[in-house]
């Protein structure tokens, strides 16, 4: 009896150690470490050195709406308002100049990009994890967010061209014959007035390609749309939000703000193709889990692996036998190149996500 007590007691102690490790070692700490090391390296003047060495490893957050909304994106995306990090490696680089008119302390991040502001792991924050998976708006899909506040009038036409084309397509294919949008349209299909709040763009895209592959027994016809057209329709549908999501944009609809990015002398501007920078980049260990990404980023909405998944695209259970990794990589980066005229969407994945997915898919053999 005493022996068993000792053995189990020891096991429990080890598990408590594991708990402590699990709670204290976190993904975002790596990104902050890399950022601070780079900031310190670039610091030249005494004041810059003092600033850079006083940076603390901590969770950082933007608090909006009188602190009701908390967004922790900047815990990893540290260089967002520091122009010295323009073009730097992915989570640490400077935000585009759009930040000038959309100061993050008022607009936050989630309002435009989507995702889960409270999370501090890549998968969960990007809406690709277990909780309420709704992937970030990426690439062209960002137009839906721009359109939500600006409409089409105040922006240059190329900023909302997909929304406009999507709306034309919805009219041309007479979607309103079956679906209702804002009280107008048929009763046959579900009301689409708030579809952008209810579904992720990956789901809407998949459903537009072949409804039956996502919703078994759906009576919606398959429209032979081209890849770009499906994308445009999806982007338009993503602008149809419910009152709660519209309310989220309300504080952003306030008067136009012009804010200069902090005129930066804190750090020296980066030299292009700096070998040291590449070293820093390689030191940040990105850990995309291909399997989790496959489910979180929406691949499984169209593709089946094993017994679960959608039936819009081909099953990928043995995809590793059919395509080599180089082919898979090119396909994921630019579907149009490998599958011209196909329906596979441009997912706007970054290199590391592509690599993780290729590794996972390559093993399906």
């Amino acid at each position: 009896m005493e022996k068993w007590l000792g053995a189990f007691g020891l096991t429990l102690t080890l598990i408590l150690g594991w708990t402590l490790w699990d709670a204290s070692v976190q993904e975002w700490q790596r990104y902050q470490g890399a950022y601070y090391r780079e900031a310190l390296r670039r610091a030249q003047k005494g004041a810059q050195k003092a600033w850079a060495s006083n940076l603390r490893t901590e969770i950082k957050q933007l608090q909006l709406n009188g602190n009701a909304t908390v967004e922790r994106c900047v815990t990893c995306h540290l260089g967002y308002d520091n122009p010295a990090f323009q073009g730097f490696v992915a989570p640490l680089r400077t935000h585009s100049s759009l930040l000038k008119n959309h100061p993050p302390e008022r607009f936050g991040c989630v309002g435009c990009h989507g995702g889960e502001g409270r999370a501090v792991t890549t998968l969960e924050a990007h809406g690709e994890g277990e909780v309420a998976a709704k992937p970030l708006l990426r690439g062209k899909y960002m137009q839906a967010a721009c359109y939500n506040c600006h409409g089409t009038k105040t922006l240059p036409p190329q900023a909302t061209d997909s929304v406009v084309r999507g709306r034309e397509l919805v009219n041309r294919y007479m979607c309103l014959a079956c679906h209702k949008i804002d009280g107008e349209g048929g009763e046959e299909g579900p009301d689409l007035s708030t579809v952008g709040s209810q579904r992720s763009w990956t789901w809407i895209y998949a459903h537009t390609v072949r409804p039956q592959g996502v919703v078994a027994g759906s009576t919606m016809p398959v429209f032979s749309l081209k890849r770009d057209e499906i994308q445009d329709v999806t982007i338009f549908l993503m602008t149809l939000l419910d009152s709660r999501d519209r309310l989220r944009y309300l504080p952003l609809l306030a008067r136009r703000v012009v804010r200069e990015l902090p005129a930066e002398e804190r750090l020296a501007a980066p030299k292009s193709a700096d070998p040291e920078e590449l070293k820093i980049a390689s030191r940040i260990v990105f850990t995309y889990d291909g399997k989790k990404l496959f489910h979180g980023a929406g691949c499984n909405i169209c593709h089946t692996i094993g017994i679960s998944g959608g039936e819009v695209g081909p099953a990928l259970t043995y995809i590793g036998r059919k395509r080599n990794s180089e082919n898979l990589e090119r396909l994921l980066k630019d579907p149009d190149e490998i599958l011209p005229g196909g329906k596979m969407p441009q997912l706007y994945l970054n290199n590391l996500q592509v690599k993780a997915l290729v590794r996972y898919l390559g093993e399906r053999r």
């Binding site: 009896m1 007590l5 007691g9 429990l12 598990i15 999370a119 277990e130 996502v214 709660r244």
Partner: protein
């Protein structure tokens, strides 16, 4: 002059060192009175003189600590309750029962609060385990005939504790304020409203309104963190105290030649072991195994969480918490029978069981032959509950239609 001074200091220091070395021993004796018990007499005293241990008898039958006698289920229920209590207090430091803040607090627990994720998972998995453990404990007591005189009333207390366990679990279900909890509680309280006359009123009182909203959240929170736990704690104490007062664990009586077992008044001549250390060690062992299992589960599997509750967008299907899915399945056939008839009949059956069961034989024996009819009836009910619950969990899709578990549900998912 100098030398004696140094030796004085040295001696004082040495004495100090000696008394410092004795300190742990003194502290131990100040707590436990006397050294580690080795003789039988000391071992008896160790149980009687200790606040926690004195709920035990000083000696127990050696069969009482064999795993197959009770499977440790009652003890596991108690441990789970204590774990719920401790993790629950941890969660209370962070949780805020308001519709605007609750979900964010849960996300914070998951993502940024030190140990928050593990504590929330522990609380959730221990809660689910407690529902299972309490049900299994009840089955054990039934199948070993341990509810028979003089233990009838303790069975009734146990039934009340089963109800309290379900109530605790159900009230806690709403607190994360996500889609899952919101619609589960909406469905769960709808089942209540099927009761004739009083049903809708009862639902109104429970929710503080006609639908699940901020008042419902506050009510469920108060019930969950103070009202029900307080009642449950008192009843658990009473339940455990009654175990001893009713003569310890149910124990088969000796059957002498030519005598009916029922008439036997003396216990079988089983060997007896001292409570300290055997029983105490066995109980510690059960705790360690349980805790290891729960910790590993909590580290590996996250408690379910969906999007923030949205009253405008019902989940389809909306399912009650799994332990009420049997009832929801029945509601699918008949609102009255699922919502009122069957649960009332089950409760009455459970409460009356020890009083209408007049067979005195088969106490402390698993599946006694003499109780075959009773055992069959119970097993039949149990199977019914298991089948309807499994149907509800695995075989019901949108609009409560039947689907095989591997079938894709039509409609958005």
């Amino acid at each position: 002059m100098r030398e004696p001074m140094i030796s004085d200091v040295y001696q004082k220091f040495a004495r100090g060192l000696v008394s410092a070395r004795q300190l742990p021993g003194r502290f131990y004796r100040s707590v436990f009175r006397g050294s580690y018990p080795t003789t039988a007499r000391q071992q008896l005293a160790a149980v009687v003189n200790n606040l926690i241990l004195h709920v035990h008898p000083t000696r127990v039958y050696s069969r009482s600590i064999k795993a197959q006698t009770t499977l440790g289920l009652g003890l596991i229920c108690l441990y789970l309750f204590i774990i719920e209590w401790i993790t629950g207090i941890f969660l209370m430091f962070y949780y805020e029962p308001s519709t605007g803040a609750a979900y964010g607090r849960i996300l914070d627990l998951n993502y940024t609060i030190m140990f928050g994720r593990v504590m929330r998972n522990l609380h959730r998995w221990a809660a689910e385990a407690m529902v299972v453990a309490v049900a299994l404990h009840m089955c054990r007591v039934f199948y070993t005939g341990a509810y028979k005189p003089p233990r009838e009333f303790n069975w009734v207390l146990g039934v009340a504790l089963l109800v309290l366990t379900l109530a605790l679990s159900f009230t806690g279900y709403l607190l994360p304020w996500d889609q899952l909890s919101f619609w589960a509680v909406t469905v769960g309280t709808n089942i209540v409203s099927y009761a004739p006359v009083l049903g809708p009123k009862l639902r109104f009182v429970l929710l503080g309104g006609d639908s699940v909203g901020s008042d419902a959240l506050l009510r469920f929170y108060t019930l969950h963190v103070i009202a029900i736990p307080a009642v449950a704690s008192l009843m658990i104490n009473y339940h455990i105290w009654r175990v001893i007062k009713d003569g310890g664990l149910a124990h088969p009586f000796e059957k002498r030649a030519g005598e009916d077992e029922a008439a036997a008044q003396t216990a079988r001549g089983d060997s007896v072991v001292p409570t300290f250390p055997q029983v105490v060690y066995a109980e510690l062992l059960v705790f360690l195994v349980l805790m290891i299992g729960l910790m590993v589960a909590s580290l590996l599997f996250n408690a379910p969480l969906e999007e923030e509750a949205n009253p405008l967008r019902p989940n389809n299907p909306s399912k009650a918490p799994w332990y009420f899915l049997g009832l929801q399945e029945l509601v699918g056939y008949s609102a009255f029978w699922g919502g009122v008839g069957v649960p009332t009949l089950l409760m009455l059956y459970l409460l009356a069981l020890p009083y209408f069961d007049r067979i005195p034989r088969g106490v402390g024996v698993w599946f006694s032959r003499e109780r075959l009819a009773m055992i069959n009836f119970w097993t039949l009910i149990l199977l019914g509950i298991l089948v309807t619950t499994a149907l509800g969990i695995y075989f019901r899709g949108p609009n409560w239609n039947f689907y095989w578990p591997w079938e894709n549900w039509p409609g958005p998912h």
